[in-house]
Subunit: 350 residues, 2 copies
Amino acid sequence: MTVSRVINRSGYISHETRERVETAIADLGYVPNTLARSLRSKKTKTLALVLTDITNPFFTTLARGVEDAASAQGFNVIFCNTDESEIKQEKYLTMLVQKRVDGVLLVPACSLGRPACYLQEHGIPVVVLDRRVPDCQVDSVRCDSVQGAFELTRLLLDLGHERIAVLSGPTTVSTAVDRVIGCRKAAGEAGLGDDAVRAYHDEYTQEGGYRMAQKALAANPRPTAFFAANNFVAVGAHRTLREAGLRVPEDIAMVAFDDLPGGLVTEAFFTVVAQPAYEMGQVATRLLLDRLAGTAPTECLEAILPAKVIIGRSSGLPVESFFTEAVQNRTAGWDAAATERRLDQPVGNQ
Amino acid sequence: MTVSRVINRSGYISHETRERVETAIADLGYVPNTLARSLRSKKTKTLALVLTDITNPFFTTLARGVEDAASAQGFNVIFCNTDESEIKQEKYLTMLVQKRVDGVLLVPACSLGRPACYLQEHGIPVVVLDRRVPDCQVDSVRCDSVQGAFELTRLLLDLGHERIAVLSGPTTVSTAVDRVIGCRKAAGEAGLGDDAVRAYHDEYTQEGGYRMAQKALAANPRPTAFFAANNFVAVGAHRTLREAGLRVPEDIAMVAFDDLPGGLVTEAFFTVVAQPAYEMGQVATRLLLDRLAGTAPTECLEAILPAKVIIGRSSGLPVESFFTEAVQNRTAGWDAAATERRLDQPVGNQ
DNA sequence: CTGTTAGCGCATTCAA
DNA sequence: TTGAATGCGCTAACAG
């Protein structure tokens, strides 16, 4: 119909017919059907964000970044929680292919590349978020976990700690592995033996943190500092310490990965490496949209965003904050300027 | 094609053709197109959850309840953040009509019924969540804010407080209004004058709480207790108190609406009325799905779920917890058994 | 049990 | 500047 032209402002239309159509639309309460449009155009204007748990404030913030960036270009976002389950993840991915979403932002439930490749094989562009997937050529956006853990550990070493317990996540998750590596690296460079750092692995949850902290406390000699590899783990570990009657930082020092948003916490208690979650979401989404638009370079991009150390009371250091030095950006010039501009602003507080 | 029959397991198919089709599907990497299916069947198997801010743990938890209940029946969920803006809300609602979602769960950005009616006029069932909308016949699921505020205030009154500052949300939001009413009601019944309760209104954010607390502190005589009408406000108000060098609860007692999830907080600091966010999402979604299935009764349902008082250190009371007595449920028998079964379990911790 | 016909609502292409 | 024809991929309703 001519109606289509009116709605999409395409082609030539006389003022008269345009108005006639517009009043008819208003009278009938007509609303165009996106499904039919998408069927025809093979574009859904829809992205998907597949993540492990929207309940985690880190992902929640990231999700806002994604949604804001997407809706700025008229795209909608479907959220999918995998709960770190590969079964659920697979279920969601096939669903997304069936729905013909234009692109997917994926926080992989495991460290394998298959899921991302699966989408690519079906012609759906993917950006992997937060975690590494070694065996797949795919765009990705994340922070440098090794570097962040390295700096956080340096803090502890400078304070004289020589027995550190790393309470980390599942060994299938790259961030959990990398944060242990970064911690060990710092201890090694400080000339400490391998037994200076003891690593524990469990779920990235409060319960996991609680359990790992119990195990760590049972070690002899007891660690003098805890390194929690994520925010939930930190909270769980702290509960263990409180129940054991141990004070932080007087009896045991703590540092952690991932900030808690300012809306949730009255004061900066934990010393953390805060990842720029909102910006990660934004950058990843813009990259994905650039891919869809054909604006991005053909090779596969990898954006490593800077994290920020925020000193809270838990480490025993005087309270201040600073950026990590290592601002890697291997995106070969892609939108780097815009990205870094954003990152001049503080990325979190606790 | 016969293919359709194989995929949908509808009608009769010989084992042989079925297998032939299935191998072909596997060979070709064929994936059915949901868009075309929806266009034909006029069903998208998609719900939408429109809320004000996914960053708030209350809504985050609610969203999980929605997603879990929806995906249990094969439905997907689109999330939309309105940031309390009616403009954004309207934009999203028209988008959802265009997308022909099967149903909408709506946390209205304002207290008017228009948005809900708009959807209903377009044949999309709606369940309103968390807030009242007086001028519209629509299903709704929420907690009793008046009752919750009443009980929380009673706690303060029992401790001898006679000057209470209610730090509430925007006057356009029903919960913000109701929580003030409940507080006033408790003071009235305790025989206190109108000046015993002083109400402040601002945004439901940390900043809002911070500002309101500053104003409240400036009053002469100073209030002896703060009632924060939501979790973010509580955190902001607490920051004000800390900056003013006032201790909680020694110098000023605090109670608040909305729990902070266990994963985020190491100990129960705030005394709160915790709303069963996850269950609210679940109940609302099941109600909506029952509507879609034609299983729900024809009249308009209103489910008022019980909240739970959790005693933390902030009020100055000994720490324990109990359910509110008032478990209203005006859902006329609808799934009430299942709902209440769920609610026997604790609904939050902090 | 299997295939055919037709149409969901839109936009591309071509004709008027 | 407008309209008519066509097909996106699927399934309801029939035939075979």
